[in-house]
Amino acid sequence: MPNKIVFLSLTLTLFLSGCDLGPSNVESGTRDQVLHLGNGTEPKDLDPHSVTGVPEHNIISALFEGLVTVNPKTLAPEPGIAASWTIDNDGKRYTFAIRDNAKWSNGDPVTADDFVWSWKRMLSPAMASEYAYQLFTVKNAKQFNHGDIKDFNQVGVKALDAKTLQVDLENPTPYFLSLLAHYSTYAVHPPTILKFGAIDEAGTLWTRPGNFVGNGPFVLDDWRLNYIIRVSKNSLYWDSENVQLNEIVFYPIDQVQTEERMFKTGALHATSSIPVDKIAVYQQKDPEKISIDPYLGTYYYRININVKPLDNPNIRKALSMAINRDLLVSSITKGGQLAAYTFTPPNTQGYYAATSPITFDIEAARALLAEAGFPNGEGFPEIELTYNTSDGHRRIAVAIQQMWKDALNIDIRLSNQDWKVYLSRIQSMDYSIARAAWIGDYPDPNTFLDMFITDGGNNQTGWSSPEYDRLIALAASQTNQQQRYRTFQQAEAILMDESPIIPIYTYTRVLLKHPQLQGWHPNILDQHPYKHVYLQEPK
């Protein structure tokens, strides 16, 4: 027994020893050009054709490059793997010239066939790629993906020669080039894929360190589940002399508080988010460390229009108009978010919605409610507001609940749900009002507005308007940007007038970053091509 005690205390002192904290990641990283990034949750996989989320995007965009990449400031398409391209056949045919010096990280050249093969993979039904629709603008792509067409040669993509890729579209699609900057359209290295499985087999081992082959500025070094992912400079990348970072280390961090603490103690150069209550603190203490940028996303409430009395658009509008959005963003979300009265964020590639029928007007709201048969909220049934468990959502819900109580004298029951329960209830339309958010896939109103076409996969309000559907379809075929945007405006006007949704605010990207982090430009998609990023002590 006694020696047991001694043993214990010894081991204890042993592992208590050595409490000298060396240089922080930020210091050493800045010295060696190693970027340490907080990256939200653990990526599901690193296969561009099978993943969806933002964390995955952050890593994949370091490992691959598409035909097109984006300008870090303006997000305007720029040559990537493709050195140049031509557009003809009134915007329906794109021809890409792939760089001669574009190589895979194992030395193989990147060819046009690689892209054909990769798009085939991404579109093939068995692959069950969630982002397949990103290529549905390509001729016959949808049919192939749905299995109506078996022969891929009928799909509008072919390699004219090793370095020339030709793509035919269903309609002229102004934002097509932006789509090509999205990882779902990236090429993967066929031999590597085939080494670990069939062309349309997902979840094989090819994305593991050692097996991995990519064509981006970095290659996969180390991947430890729920801990870190490290990528290091790829010397074979065509533009590698312009890549200044030697390594990037991604940390999957579930808890925002933890991430903020890590940032504060210099373990991270930048975080993926920040605890709401810390925003004010940083803005006062060290404003240079917090960055708040507009972001292509909208926070809104869905309304299940099959639920009485919410089937009455006036009531929906009344609810929407009773919310003091400015107060909400200023004292609850605090992240410089913009009060939203339309669904599409302002200045989405130059698009602005027409002035919305929705305003903050308690009197009007009361009037509408009375009109609908509930003067001063009397007899209004208690309806439930569903949100998935999260401090942020809770705070907003609590505030809005009270606003409705004060303005309209109606009672709302809050109900937070575990994420999956929440999702299943939304999908089965088993809700009255539910919190929701939408982040645009590409900078164009379409990514927002085509949601609410009849039976749209993400509509989930039960709302449907033939006129709206017609306008969205029309817009898809219009080439003139002005006309197109006007069509969208008409559509959005209908949407807001019917109010199956209550837009609340336009997202901003709020995150912490150390001043050493340079070449990291704010943009509405929060995309930061790493080859432009470098680390340097601020002057």
Binding site: D277, V281, L327, I332, D391, R395, K405, S415, N416
Partner: protein, 296 residues
């Protein structure tokens, strides 16, 4: 002797002093325990009277004000929504105390019965009952709760049940080990010889003798139950905003402890106060229920 008998019969007593009357008498002499008792009573009274005492409505917001430090208007400060913390603490106390006691009561009943029966009967019955406990220990508790909620919907009653269902396991184990030693005691054999049924023996001779350790365990359970409630609320089973509970307030306070320390400190204080009060009371009760205990 006869005289003493007469004089005795004049003394008014019915079935004789019960263990409880007696415990109460002894408890009264234990200052610390009584202090604890008073604190608990105080909390209970306050939570009952809250609707009349509370300076503000628990849901009345002042978003413009937001979180503000303790002041003349708001003695304990306000939370993010500008709601008066003291008020919310009082209302939260109602929930927490209710959950704490009710849920513990559930676990107590199940735990004692289960443990006693297993320990008293022993043999195969014991083995099976204890293995069942093992199984319940091993099941993924979160999924379990979520299911409960989906099947039965959300209600305080369910909350009590859910927590009780988790807490009784340990209770049962503690009781069982106690009973195992007790049933070998001679006074149990004596009871058998007197002709008491097993149930009577369990009720009159076994259970009173396991109360001691059980009470101590309870005093530890109640506070942890209050915190568990916070986690269940997180899963959506617990109470819903704008209602609140100490557990919820604390877990919320943790996240903002640097910016708005008072949001953590005061709920924390409330809980620890209850905790210590309960602990003293518990130790006191344990001694009070043991006639042999020399009270020091």
């Amino acid at each position: 002797m006869i005289d003493s008998l007469k004089e005795y019969q004049n003394l008014n007593f019915e079935q004789g002093r019960s263990l409880w009357q007696d415990a109460w008498y002894r408890l009264n002499k234990n200052k610390l325990a009584m202090l604890g008792l008073y604190v608990i009573i105080f909390f209970v009274v306050v939570s009952i009277l809250t609707p009349w005492l509370a300076p503000y409505g628990y849901e009345t917001q002042n978003l413009a004000l937001g979180a503000s430090a303790p002041s003349a208007q708001h003695w304990l400060g306000t939370d993010i929504h500008g709601r008066d913390l003291m008020t919310r603490l009082m209302y939260g106390g109602r929930i927490s105390l209710m959950v704490g006691f009710a849920a513990t009561a559930v676990s107590l009943v199940i735990g004692i019965l289960w443990g006693t029966i297993a320990g008293y009967i022993g043999g195969l019955t014991d083995t099976i009952m204890m293995r069942i406990v093992d199984i319940l220990y091993a099941l993924p508790f979160m999924i379990f709760i979520i299911l409960l909620m989906v099947v039965f919907g959300r209600s305080l009653l369910l909350l009590f049940l859910a927590i009780g269902l988790i807490e009784w396991l340990t209770m049962a184990r503690i009781v069982r080990t106690q009973v195992l030693t007790l049933r070998k005691q001679e006074f149990v054999s004596a009871a058998v010889v007197t002709g008491l049924s097993h149930w009577q023996i369990i009720r009159r001779h076994i259970i009173p003798n396991v109360l001691g350790p059980v009470i101590v365990y309870i005093t530890l359970t109640i506070p942890s139950v209050m915190l568990l409630e916070a986690f269940l609320s997180f899963l959506g089973l617990g109470i819903q905003p704008p209602q609140s509970s100490w557990g919820v307030l604390i877990s919320g306070g943790v996240e903002t402890m640097e910016e708005y320390p008072w949001l953590l400190v005061f709920p924390g204080l409330a809980l620890s106060l209850t905790l210590f009060a309960l602990n003293f009371l518990g130790d006191g009760l344990r001694d009070a229920l043991d006639p042999r205990a020399t009270r020091d």
